[in-house]
């Protein structure tokens, strides 16, 4: 299959043509010959490398009522992602080679986006014994990111051992930083508002204390550390300091922490219940600055689907989490690009190159997050920055509807997504991925 | 409590109101053969000052203290659901109660009769009087219930498209009975009872 993309702005630069052939970018330049190719007029569109999400909950196996690998990767493709890291808190937990291989294989068969399983750090996420990290690393899934996400690896000794152990195969521990004793029964950001609403507070210090500890542990044992969904100004400052000292610490922020604030909780609408919780406007400003100056390496969605009944209920009883895959790029454009904090090259870095490096998926047979250059795999997304839409949860291809942006007007739209040269999204709509399967 | 009274014309002056109340006081005494068992109860808000004046009048005629009080009927109305809920007016039953007494209910305007029906129900919960009489300053007709007044200050034939306003010194700063056009004929049906 040959595709000629005409007049796209590579990472926002001057318009040029891209020729995709046999799954790779064959040529880049102006006035390329489109003989035999499907021609796409990309005038006004920005071309980015296929986005890579470091933090996706696909819910399969175990909660196929909320999301499946099929529905989740379809949402990913519509959001411009060509690879997602599937979190380990499934049922069964992804803590063995068997489970991660199954998840990986399902992703391959469906073919909308590459699924990179994240392995659990501890058996059953229970924080007691290390899972077989090496076996997961050596499996067909080639796991490099390990996380007990949803729970914090709170035991300092266990965390130290995990950080040390994954050095053997170039892995990284992605920490969900939440001091458990400080957050027992926590429901929202601890603040004047939590006091007024009578909701148990989730103090910033519970995140910052773990990040500070883990930065020091990582420094002590000389290991890589990745911080999941950092949400406070204090966390940004700790990571900034760590980087100034040259420590191999990376961090991610979610789209919702770039945009939404805790005052949305005031009506007790559980769509706004998320972990870590929505914080203050000051924290939002701090994470935007951190993302802009590179303190925060990546945007990761923490896409967390939940069935309606887990959100349409009392706040305390509701599940934590929000959808994110289909809106992430729009939220980043809205909060970072349209505000002048980041250009499109910056977006490519924070949403593709950096997460690809952190997740070690930027090499090998199915390399992701590669530069847009001749000879590289043709993972490309075309974005129309001038488009805008009002978010309608019902229009989502996710099986869940816990969309916190309902009714908001957001800029930008993904026009096309190419996975190794094949258009999984065209004109903003999914194509048949079975064709893709045939091509493999 | 400012009411727009432009376009209203007077039908009773302050003197006429005073004379009407004095006449009614005599009627009450005559009818009751004395004043010893009387209890005068005004229906808020303008029935209450009228009841006090009537009681004072009776007292001066008979040289005896006539117990006077107030009975709010809001909680007993059958048309509560037709308008927004409102604050209650005070109910004040004189010590000695109403059991075995002759109760004279006093209101400013008698119209549909629903207020009086509610007052009778309210009175039921207070005790069992020997008899209940009704005294009103103005009877404007258009009854919706089989109720009539025993003592009337003035019979005033009106149209339903008209509105009757009673002003009393204690509430409005002056005494007068006025008549004018109702702002909204539909709403008006209730206006006198609702006040």
């Amino acid at each position: 299959m040959i595709v000629l993309i005409k007049g796209a702005r590579l990472l926002g630069a001057e318009p040029t043509d891209l020729l995709l052939r046999d799954g790779v970018i064959a040529e880049i330049g102006s006035g390329l010959d489109g003989t035999g190719a499907t021609v796409i007029d990309a005038g006004g569109l920005v071309a980015l490398p296929g986005l890579v999400d470091l933090h996706t909950h696909l819910r399969e196996p175990g909660r196929e009522d909320a999301e499946t690998i099929a529905s989740g990767t379809r949402a990913a493709a519509l959001g411009g992602f060509t690879a997602v890291h599937a979190m380990a808190n499934t049922d069964p937990v992804a803590d063995t080679a068997g489970v991660v291989e199954q998840v990986w294989r399902l992703g391959r068969e469906i073919g909308y986006a590459d699924v990179r399983p994240v392995g659990a750090v501890t058996v059953g996420l229970d924080g007691q014994r290390l899972a077989e990290l090496g076996a997961m690393a050596d499996s067909a899934a080639g796991v490099r990111v390990f996380s007990d996400d949803g729970r914090c690896v709170a035991d300092a000794l266990l965390m130290r051992r995990a950080l040390e152990y994954v050095k053997a195969f170039g892995g990284v521990i992605a920490q969900h930083a939440q001091e458990p004793r400080l957050t027992e029964g926590a429901q929202m950001n601890e603040s004047e508002l939590s006091g007024r609403l009578g909701l148990r507070g989730w103090p910033r210090v519970a995140e910052e204390a773990i990040i500070a500890r883990d930065v020091m542990l990582a420094a002590h044992v000389g290991s890589r550390l990745h911080i999941c969904h950092l949400s406070t100004r204090g966390s940004v400052e700790i990571v900034r300091l760590a980087k100034q000292r040259g420590l191999p610490v990376t961090a991610e922020v979610t789209p919702h922490h770039l945009l939404l604030t805790e005052d949305l909780v005031a009506g007790y609408d559980a769509r706004y219940k998320v972990n870590p919780p929505l914080r203050s406007a000051d924290d939002v400003a701090a994470v935007r600055e951190g993302l802009a100056d590179g303190t925060i390496d990546a945007v990761a969605t923490d896409h967390a689907p939940h069935p309606v009944e887990d959100k349409e209920c009392e706040w305390d009883a509701a599940a934590f989490g929000m959808l994110g895959l289909e809106t992430a790029l729009s939220v980043v454009q809205h909060t970072m690009v349209d505000t002048g904090l980041l250009d499109w090259a910056g977006v490519a870095d924070r949403m593709s190159f950096a997460p690809g490096r952190i997740g070690k998926c930027d090499g090998g047979d199915f390399a992701q997050a590669r530069p847009l250059a001749a000879g590289e795999p043709a993972n490309v997304v075309l974005v129309d920055p001038s488009a805008s839409r009002t978010v309608d949860p019902a229009a989502s291809v996710s099986l869940s509807r816990n969309n916190p942006y309902e009714g908001r007007k957001l800029p930008g739209s993904v026009v096309a997504t190419f996975l190794r040269g094949f258009p999984v999204v065209e004109n903003g709509e999914l194509t048949q991925s079975s064709i893709q399967k045939g091509m493999r | 409590m400012s009411r727009d009274l432009s376009g209203f014309r007077p039908v009773l002056s302050d003197d006429e109101i005073a004379r009407a109340l004095t006449r009614m006081a005599h009627e009450v005494v005559e009818r009751s053969k004395g004043a010893s068992d009387l209890v005068v109860l005004g229906i808020p808000s303008r029935g209450v000052p009228l009841a006090q004046r009537l009681a004072r009048s009776i007292s001066s005629v008979e040289d005896i203290d006539v117990p006077v009080g107030a009975i709010d009927v809001t909680m007993y109305r059958d048309d509560l659901r037709l308008r927004p809920a409102r604050a209650l007016e005070p109910t004040d039953i004189p010590t000695g109660g109403v059991d075995g007494k002759i109760v004279v209910l006093v209101d400013d305007v008698l119209y549909s009769g629903r207020t009086i029906r509610a007052a009778l129900t309210a009175l039921d919960d207070v005790g069992r009087p020997q008899a209940v009489r009704l005294a009103v300053l103005v009877d404007r007709g258009h009854r919706e219930l089989p109720i009539r007044a025993d003592h009337v200050g003035k019979n005033l034939p009106t149209s339903v498209r008209e509105s009757v306003k009673v002003l009393v010194e204690e509430v409005d700063g002056r005494d007068a009975v006025l008549i004018g056009a109702a702002e909204d004929p539909v709403a008006h049906v209730d206006l006198e009872d609702a006040r």
């Binding site: 006091g195 007024r196 009944e309 209920c313 009392e314 | 037709l82 927004p84």
Partner: protein, 317 residues
Amino acid sequence: MIRHLLSSSDLTREQATTILDTAEEMARLTEGRSVKKLPTLRGRTVVNLFFEDSTRTRTSFELAAKRLSADVINFSAKGSSVSKGESLKDTALTLAAMGADAVVVRHSASGAPYRLADSGWIDANVLNAGDGTHEHPTQALLDAFTMRHHLGDLDGRHIVIVGDVLHGRVARSNVSLLATLGARVTVVAPPTLLPLGVEHWPCEVSYDLDAALPGASAVMMLRVQQERMNAAFFPSAREYSRRYGLDTQRFGRLSDDAIVLHPGPMNRGMEITAEVADSERSVIVEQVTNGVYVRMAVLYLMLAGAGDGTTGQEGAA
């Protein structure tokens, strides 16, 4: 006049005063009468939806509704199949089908009454009878009613609230209502039992009970649960009562006309000594009686009128 009563901070001074004035009339209308029942809410259905046990609150609402001749359904959702969150919706739909005009809801989760009121599952009036650690507005109203009865207008009066403000819905509701009514409020508690940001509340904050008591017109002692001790909120019951309990000595330093309140149930010997609780300046038993009047007033103002009271038009007979 009132669509829902979810939080006492939603009440304007005018609304709060109307409720209290109406409650006074309710008291006069029913006190000492042989017939305590008023026909006002005949044909209206009030549902007591209790996800959490509270016999005293439920009984108080039940009595209030019945005195206004409403039909009362007690729907105890505790212990039955309704334990998981999703059933709040099913319960609401059931109540809507039953034709409930008002739902009095008590729930262990903060904000549950908001879900009922805002979700569109049911269009009944919703009355918060205590939600989690959030609010208990009718308790605040009955406390204010009781104080007003003894002290007159609360404007400028100094009222001291002592105890677990962090977990206490009564404290939250009282602080905002009393501030709305113009009172000067001081909350007193160990720092561990005060929520973050309490300095932004419309009250003064103190850790020292003895310093707060002089000049107080009323002192409200809040129940402190013994189990808080195990979560390190304070070291021991003895230390708590020594620092924050109302004993005879502290009571003696109050002015002669000051009154003592407690929303109950009391821990005698913990936050209040038996002598103080039983003294004649303690109005704790009165609070229970007044609860019925205040709840009658709220139900009346909510249910007696047409719609939500936004239509100022007098209806046709």
